[in-house]
Subunit: 326 residues, 2 copies
């Protein structure tokens, strides 16, 4: 059975591994990115990890057919070039595919990290056994990936699936991207924390104020804990995040009409404290007449989604017949 | 070269014709639906039109390979059954595909009318030469169709592309579908007219009041004319419609990332009076950093889009190799 290597290139860690044609994990390995050493060193580390994985796979599984890399944008997928990711300092128009191909001696494909992770959950996680799935990654920002009828929906400019920048509140809160009222401005982990800090600075009372003084910073999971403890400010901010996520889910339902919407990323660790209110708002907001509601689920693969997705996409490229299984 | 027949089954008219493999129109024909006569009579009329088109095509183009029907929902596309369309009284679980197949002696496929029209514009109209196009039909309601990477995005429950029910204003105006704040509640032809009537009934002054008294009803094109003449109420309502259409376009841009968004339906007759303000709001609302903006265009095929799309989908079904051209 063919197998492939996947690499998830993050600002802090390189997560990698190999899967077989049924998307089963054969081996996995994580190393530090050491991004501050610059692209040459990082690429060398990626090639070294690939060779180590090949050695580990040994003769049993055979040589991997290809390597898939999930990398942060901006990137040019077709050209295999990393343009200028904010969390990889010094990278500018790096021909990553060509260089890893030379260093590892295998065909290499590139995909943006959000799409790779969505594809991973689709083939081996919370979207498995569906043909239409959408993933929302709730981290510092809100990323997204759309699979429609078994294919990644990349779009004409290859910037499809940017669900974090769906406008859920016209003339609403300013987003980092320059738009107003984006989902990300209310429902990313960093904005959830930031909105509580803003409320405290504006004079509102919150248990989070103590934590903020003690720790010097506030995180989204603090807000979730405070909301659960009955703190009014945290309850309101967390409620807003869940409500706007539900608005986004209704809009995804009507546009893409997936079988499942998957929540991933750091904030999805809230589990039922996220799912229950989002589901409640979603049921209230969506149309009553047609029963075409996607299931709302938490992602299953955690930090493995990116490299598994990248490996699966690589395998689909070199063995296209096999890809149709998914 | 193969050819196929398309039929657009409307509540008032049956629009039909035949296209060749390059989506060029060979013949066309329109007859009254006479929906009040019930399904048997309507199906007979559809079969008669098909036979007439076959005769007209004669030996030159050869016998059509198939018939495609675009019909109003609710319908079961795979089963070929019309479930219960509001504007076809007496239709309930009618096996339309089977019956037209028997009556016309050709393979028949079924598609919902909004998808058929979007596909028509995609293969032969304002979306031609793209691979990713979205259409919004601005009529009594707001319909939609999504083509991603050359395929209709039907979704898991086959209710994808219902862009009229995207929430563009949370807790906003009540929509016919039961949701609040749908695009359709602000930007359908009927709601544009209705909002002006509501403003007049609430005591606001508008030139539309005169027209309403004189004609007993107000239409969207009256509102467009009044807005152009400087009427404050019409200007505000039309401005809202265009602004919410722009919000929808931003959300389509980030999710589907098409090359083009096409406006069709009665209200698209407003032409530049629609396009100019929607474009202006869109430029203001979308992110400034990435240049991935779809072109906003008016549909080109008018009432022919539905049957041309249905014919093209039929042709793609019976000659799948050819379909890859589009």
């Amino acid at each position: 059975m063919p197998c492939a290597i996947g690499i998830d290139l993050g600002g802090t860690r390189i997560k990698a591994g190999a899967i077989d044609g049924e998307a089963r994990v054969l081996v996995r390995r994580t190393v530090a990115t050491e991004a501050d050493q610059g692209p040459d060193e990082v690429i060398q580390r990626m090639c070294a990890v690939s060779r180590e994985l090949c050695d580990e796979l040994g003769g049993a599984a055979g040589l991997p057919a290809a390597i898939g890399i999930g990398a942060p944008g901006a990137l040019n997928r077709r050209a295999g070039v990393i343009i200028s990711p904010p969390n990889l300092p010094g990278w500018r128009n790096v021909p990553l595919v060509e260089r890893v191909q030379q260093g590892a001696g295998l065909p290499v494909i590139l995909e943006n990290d959000a799409n790779a992770a969505a594809w991973g959950e689709y083939v081996a996680g919370a979207g498995h056994h569906t043909h239409d799935a959408v993933m929302l990654t709730l981290g510092t920002g809100v990323g997204g990936g759309v699979i429609s009828d078994g294919k990644l929906c990349r779009g004409h400019f290859e910037t499809g699936g940017e669900i974090g920048h769906m406008i859920v509140q016209p003339e609403g809160r300013l987003c980092n991207c320059g738009q107003s009222g984006c989902l990300e401005a209310y429902a990313s982990a960093s904005n959830v924390a930031r909105r509580v800090v803003e409320a405290i600075r504006a004079g509102e009372r919150s248990i989070c104020d103590e934590w903020l003084r003690k720790n010097g910073a506030l995180e989204a999971h603090d807000v979730v804990a405070a909301a659960a403890a009955g703190d009014a400010v945290a309850h309101r901010v967390w409620g807003d995040a869940c409500r706007y996520l539900a608005v986004a889910c209704v809009n995804i339902q009507h546009m893409i009409n997936p079988a499942v919407i998957i929540f991933a990323g750091g904030m999805s660790a809230a589990g039922d404290q996220l799912l229950a209110p989002v589901r409640e708002h979603f049921e209230r907001l969506t149309w009553p007449g047609i029963d075409d509601r996607p299931e709302l689920r938490i992602a299953r693969l955690g930090n493995d989604a990116g490299w598994i997705g990248a490996a699966s996409l690589a395998l689909a490229t070199v063995t296209p017949t096999r890809a149709r299984q998914f």
